[in-house]
Symmetry: C2
Subunit: 349 residues, 2 copies
DNA sequence: GTTAGCACTCGTCACATCAGAGTGCTAATC
DNA sequence: GATTAGCACTCTGATGTGACGAGTGCTAAC
C-alpha cells in the first residue's frame, strides 16, 4: 500500500504545480517541467493509480488532476521540507516585533499583521488564555459617592477592572478592609480554580459597612474574573482571500467571512486546538471543510499559551507557512520570556 | 427649476420602487402600480425631464430609470417621512439594551447588533470619544519588584491602565508620593488639554527615589492617556451586504470589506462627522462613493458623544433606517443618562 | 397638454459550434 | 513486464447567432 518512489515524486510535482497555479495539472506538463525521465503516458498510468488510492481527484474527464486532502496530509507529514525564511522576511518580523515589545497587545496584533502580509492569507493572533494565571491582589478604589472600581491584578501584571455602581454608600475604611480580605483570600489561586469552586468564600465582615459593601461587590467579582479570562483576538488580512480563485464565487467568500463574524465561537475553537504547529486540512476540520487551518502557539513566561494562525484554501504553501509560523512563535516566546523576567535581568543591577 | 407636484410624485414612485426591487423602473410599471392618473407616455416625458435635471439615470437605452444620488438627496431632505417602528422592533430594542445596561461596552455592542439585524445592513457602534473627559485621579500600584501598574481614572469612571516595567527599583513611598503629586497636578483637566500642552509639567521630586521613578513613568503616562482616548469600535452584519445585488460582484464586495479592515482610519472618519443623524449619499462621501453612510450620535451624561451608523448601497430605505437610528440613539442616551447620575437617584436614599 | 402607436435599441437567454486540453486505451517497443 | 506512441473520446470554455422582451423616444392624433 506504500507509494513507490516515483509515485511520491509525481505526487509532489502535482502538489507543487497545483499550489502554484491553482489549475488541474496534466501529465504532459508534469513530464515537461519536472525531469522525471518518463513519458506523459507513464505519468498518466501512475496518476490513475494515485487517484485510485485517493490521493488525486478529477474535476471531469478531460481535466488534469488535483491533489486531495489526503495528498496534502501526506505532503505535510512526510514530503514537506522546512523552508528557510528570506532575510527580508526575518528582518521584517524582528523589526516589527521589537518595535512594540513593551506593549503586549500591540505586539500580538503586529504578529497577526506580519503573518497575513507574508503569507497573503487571512490570519489571526490571540492573547494567552489565562486560566492558569494566579491572582496577585485585589483592590477597590473610590470614584465618587456611588461608584467604585474593582481591580484584579494577576501575577504576570495582567489587569482587569470594572466600574461598579453601588446602591449603598461606602466608607473608605470598608473599602480598604474588603480589598485586603479579598486579597488574602484569593492571592495565589488561579482564575480557573476560583471560578470552578461553587461557593463564593466568605471574606469576613469585620465591620458593618463592609458587610453591606461585600454584597455589592462579590457578584461583580466573579463577572470580572470571567472578563479576565477573555482573550483578545486580532484578525488581519481577511480580504486577502478575495484574491484567491477558491473564493471567487460570492457564496464561498461569504461563508468565509461569516466564520469570522462570530468571534466568540471562533476563539473557543482556536483555544481548543493543541500546542505547537497544528495543521488541519479540509475535511479534518469540522467546519470550514474546504479550508486549511494552521495554528501555532507561543508562550508567555513559559506558562501562559497564546495562539496565532492562518486560514486559507487547502491549496497553500504548507512548507513556507509553517516555517514562518514557527519562526514567528519562537520570536514571540523569546520576546515575552524577557518581558516577564525583567526583575531578574541585569537591568536591575 | 423647481419640480412640479407631478414630477415629485413620479420621482418618489421611482425611488420607492427601485429601493424595493433593485431594478430600473419603467414608465409602464409606475403607471400601473401608482395611481397617478396619467398614461405611461406622460410619465415617460416627465422622466425624460427628470433625467435632464439630473435626478434619474439610464443604464442603457432600453432599460428603465434609476434614481441618482441627487434624487436620494432630495428624497432625504424633503420627500421622506418619518416611519414608526413596529411594536416588535421597539420591544426588541428596549429589551436588548435593558438587558446589558450596567455593562457599558456590551450595551454598545448590542446597539450595533440591533441595528444590523433590523436594517439588514452593515452597522457599527462606537464608544464615546473622551477628549473632554476630566481626569479624576492617577494611581501607581506595585506588582512585583520591577513592575508597577499605572492607572488613570476619569470622572465618568472610565479607567485605563498600563503595566510598566521599570529599570530602577522603586519604594512604596515614592510610588505613593508620585501618585499623589500627579493627581494633584492633573485632576480636573481634560485629556485633550493635557495631551495638547507641549510641556510635561514637573510633578516635583520630593524625594530622590521619586525622581528616578518619575523618569520611568511620565513617558508612559502620555501613551496611556492616548490609550484612554481610543474608542472601541464594534462592527456587525458585515456579511449582510453579500445579499444585496449591488455587491454581487466579488470586486465590489472586496472593496466594501476592505473599508472595514482599516479600523483606525474608519474610526477617525466617523468621529469627524457631525452630531445627530447625518446622511451622506454616494458621491457626497470622499471614499466609498457608491455607498450611503448614515451615522447618528448618542450622549453619555449629556457630555460625551458616541456614534452608531450603518453602511449600505445608496439604494436603501432611508425613512426606516433613519427612524430606527433615531429611536436607538434616544434609547442609548436615556440609558446612559441614568447610568451616570446614579449617585443622585433614589437608590442612594 | 395628453395619449396611442410604433419603430428602434439594448441586454439576456438558449442554443450551436469549435478549439484546446487532457484522459484512457491499445498496440508497438524496449 | 514496463514503457511509450498514437489516437479516439470527453469535457470545458469561448464565441457567435437569433429570438425575445422590456423599455424608450418620437410622431401624430386627440
Amino acid at each position: 500500500m506504500d507509494l513507490s518512489e516515483r509515485q511520491l515524486q509525481i505526487l509532489q510535482a502535482i502538489i507543487t504545480d497545483y499550489v502554484e497555479n491553482a489549475e488541474p495539472v496534466g501529465s504532459r506538463s508534469i513530464a515537461k517541467k519536472y525531469d522525471l525521465g518518463v513519458s506523459p503516458a507513464t505519468i498518466r498510468n501512475e496518476m490513475s493509480d494515485l487517484e485510485e488510492m485517493g490521493y488525486l481527484t478529477h474535476p471531469h474527464t478531460s481535466a488534469g488532476r488535483v491533489p486531495s486532502d489526503k495528498a496534502y496530509r501526506l505532503y505535510v507529514n512526510t514530503l514537506m521540507q522546512k523552508k528557510n525564511l528570506s532575510a527580508k522576511d526575518k528582518r521584517m518580523i524582528n523589526d516589527r516585533l521589537a518595535a512594540s515589545r513593551d506593549e503586549f497587545d500591540r505586539t500580538i496584533r503586529h504578529a497577526a499583521e506580519l503573518l497575513s502580509e507574508i503569507t497573503n492569507l487571512a490570519s489571526f493572533a490571540m492573547t494567552p488564555a489565562t486560566n492558569e494565571e494566579q491572582i496577585s491582589f485585589i483592590r477597590l478604589l473610590p470614584v465618587d459617592r456611588g461608584t467604585i472600581i474593582l481591580m484584579i491584578v494577576g501575577e504576570s501584571g495582567n489587569v482587569t477592572n470594572t466600574t461598579l455602581r453601588l446602591n449603598v454608600p461606602y466608607t473608605q475604611e470598608a473599602l480598604d478592609l474588603l480589598s485586603k480580605n479579598m486579597t488574602v483570600n484569593y492571592k495565589g489561586r488561579t482564575l480557573d480554580d476560583v471560578l470552578k469552586s461553587e461557593i463564593i468564600e466568605d471574606v469576613g465582615s469585620d465591620i458593618e459597612a463592609m458587610s453591606q459593601l461585600k454584597g455589592n461587590v462579590m457578584p461583580s467579582f466573579i463577572r470580572t474574573l470571567e472578563d479576565m479570562l477573555n482573550v483578545n483576538l486580532y484578525m488581519e488580512g481577511m480580504t486577502n482571500i478575495f484574491d484567491l480563485p477558491e473564493y471567487s464565487s460570492i457564496d464561498r467568500a461569504r461563508d468565509f467571512m461569516e466564520l469570522f463574524a462570530q468571534k466568540d465561537w471562533f476563539t473557543q475553537k482556536m483555544l481548543a486546538r493543541g500546542e505547537g504547529v497544528v495543521v488541519t486540512i479540509g475535511d479534518e476540520n469540522d467546519t470550514m471543510k474546504d479550508c486549511t487551518l494552521i495554528t501555532a502557539s507561543y508562550h508567555v513566561d513559559g506558562k501562559l499559551v497564546g495562539k496565532i494562525g492562518v486560514i486559507g484554501p487547502t491549496r497553500m504553501k504548507y512548507d513556507e507557512v509553517t516555517s514562518i509560523m514557527e519562526y514567528l512563535t519562537n520570536n514571540l516566546s523569546e520576546t515575552f520570556r524577557l518581558v516577564d523576567n525583567t526583575n531578574n535581568t541585569e537591568d536591575e543591577g
